[in-house]
């Protein structure tokens, strides 16, 4: 087991705890935007898809990578936009529309 992977496990564990700590503080009011938002963030698998779609290694991996980039981009772009669209609607009393 390489050093990199052990570090990876530490990172995973700490990120999980940070996520747990922050997310338990998010009011149920915003739980739907939260789901759309974290979904957009985990569209970061785009990073892996980009390399697969562009490495010219084989026809198969280019096709699969292409589909992966497509799916991940829909999530990232659509996810952030729809989160913002929802959050824009949450207004305080007397707030303008």
């Amino acid at each position: 087991m390489s050093h990199e992977l052990i570090i990876g496990l530490y990172i995973f564990m700490l990120a999980g705890f940070i996520g747990y700590g922050i997310i338990t503080g998010i009011p149920p009011l915003l739980h739907t935007p939260l789901m759309a938002f974290t979904n957009a963030i985990s569209g970061i698998s785009l990073v892996g898809s980009l390399v697969m779609a562009g490495n010219d290694a084989s026809v198969l991996t280019t096709i699969l990578g292409f589909v992966a980039v497509l799916a991940a981009t829909i999530n990232v772009v659509g996810g952030f936009l729809i989160t913002d669209r929802m959050l824009k609607m949450f207004k305080k009393k007397g707030g303008r529309r």
């Binding site: 996520g19 935007p33 979904n39 990073v47």
Partner: protein
């Protein structure tokens, strides 16, 4: 290791964490989204300079098409369809993770993969595949393409447990023998099948738990991708998503007083038939006309609205606000009581009421408002059923006994808007409907609310 790229990834990880922290308050939430967007730009910028990328043609084409679809979906999907859109996005997330995993295995084969990497890769493909088909099933059920009733057949649980056990066995086998390509692809197939079969039997009312669990799986699959590619920003973003889905599914299960296993291996299916029968022999209900209901409301000084999935189906959120405006004009206080599992996903009702321009200070959580019902003149139930069922408090033989519910029955008068006398989603009789201080107004909720508002205005 390219230092610039690593620093970009580091900054983007920080921005993701700060972004999510923004969501702890509605005031700071949009700034949070902006920070995370910035983080995503940095992460993508750090990746496109990757030395392994030789051609940008397909990346650009996929990126442009994907962005166009993403923009169109974000702009056009009505708020009432949000659970469907979230289910679809989990499917895309799972698919992307699974495909990256398959590509990685195909390219690097057995000989270059350590046992640890192979384990992470297997996990990624297993959970990615399962999330993909499972989320498509959830989407189908929410959209009404598939029956949203519980679909059961004999030996179902044994079959699902067996499949899951065999998927895990294959995962362990390929971790030990990374060269076993046949088993790797077999596991992908089993994962696809598992996603279909696990979600198939789950009824519509349990969707909040299913959606949040799939959210968690999509995140874990992304995190596993990070282990395979040795990319820390992926590990972090996936862990955040996984934690979020996990917490939400705990919140949902608690709000239904059920365990994960109970939801996944569905006890509700069995309850259905007997409960529907008792409904038919139930006590008489008091039906009121729109005019009667408006009369009751005009005499009230305090009103609590309890919305449910029926409000989303009837798209009645704007009509609710119109009625509330008329009431507030004459000095009546109007509050909204939101049960955690009202609707088909966490926070579903809040988003709809916010869309109707209702200030968020008026939206109250269960614990916050539940003691106020007893001092309230009118409780107006708009398309909610199980979340206002008093049987959960006092009938130990009820399938939902123990679930925290709104004290709608304690309000002086309870007006229930209902489409028909058909039993609710879980098919459980609701004693609230036959109580002495309850009146039912039948019809389309949006239509009824609009007419009530007109009656109040005149």
């Amino acid at each position: 290791m390219n230092v610039t790229v690593e620093i970009l990834y580091l900054v983007s990880s920080l921005l993701f964490v700060l972004g999510i922290r923004g969501l702890t308050h509605p005031e700071s939430a949009r700034r949070g989204v902006f920070l995370a967007e910035l983080g995503m730009v940095f992460a993508v910028a750090g990746t496109v300079v990757h030395p392994d990328i030789k051609s940008y043609v397909w990346i650009i084409i996929a990126g442009v098409i994907g962005s166009a679809i993403g923009v169109a979906m974000a702009a056009l999907i009505p708020m009432t369809k949000m659970p469907e859109r979230i289910a679809l996005s989990h499917a895309f997330g799972g698919l992307a993770a699974a495909l990256v995993g398959v590509c990685h295995y195909y390219l690097h084969g057995a000989e270059h993969l350590s046992h640890f990497t192979m384990g992470a890769l297997g996990f990624e493909v297993l959970f990615g595949g399962l999330t993909f088909t499972g989320s498509l099933m959830a989407f189908g059920k929410l959209q009404g393409i598939l029956s949203s009733r519980n679909i059961t057949y004999p030996g179902q649980n044994a079959m699902n447990i067996g499949l899951f056990a065999s998927a895990l066995a294959i995962l362990i086998y390929i971790t030990v023998n990374p060269g076993a390509a046949f088993f790797f692809y077999l596991m992908l197939l089993v994962a696809f099948g598992l996603g279909v079969l696990i979600v198939l039997p789950i009824g519509g009312a349990d969707m909040p738990v299913v959606i949040t669990l799939l959210n968690s799986y999509a995140g874990l699959a992304a995190s596993a991708t990070g282990f395979v590619l040795e990319n820390n920003v992926l590990i972090i973003a996936g862990a955040l998503d996984g934690a979020s889905g996990f917490i939400l599914s705990i919140v949902m299960s608690k709000a239904m007083n059920r365990s994960f296993t109970n939801v996944l291996f569905g006890a509700f299916g069995k309850v259905d038939e007997s409960a529907t029968k008792t409904q038919a022999s139930g006590a008489p209900v008091r039906e009121a006309s729109v005019g009667d209901a408006a009369m009751i409301l005009s005499g009230a000084t305090s009103v609590i609205v309890v919305p449910g999935y029926g409000m989303a189906v009837a798209q009645a959120q704007h009509a609710v606000r119109e009625l509330a405006e008329h009431l507030e004009k004459s000095g009546t206080s109007v509050k909204y009581a939101i049960h955690p599992v009202a609707g088909r996903m966490p926070g579903h009702m809040n988003v709809l009421l916010a869309e109707a321009n209702i200030p968020y200070e008026q939206l109250h959580e269960l614990d916050e408002i539940n003691d106020e019902f007893a001092d309230t003149d009118v409780c107006l139930v708009v398309g909610a059923n199980d979340v206002v069922n008093p049987a959960a408090k006092d009938n130990p033989s009820s399938p939902i006994y123990g679930m925290p519910v709104m004290n709608a029955d304690l309000a002086r008068t309870c007006i229930v808007l209902k489409r028909s006398m058909n039993p609710g989603f879980a098919g459980i009789e609701n004693e609230l409907f036959t109580k002495e201080n309850t009146v039912l107004v039948f019809g389309d909720a949006k239509d009824t609310l609009t007419k009530m508002a007109e009656a109040l205005a005149s």
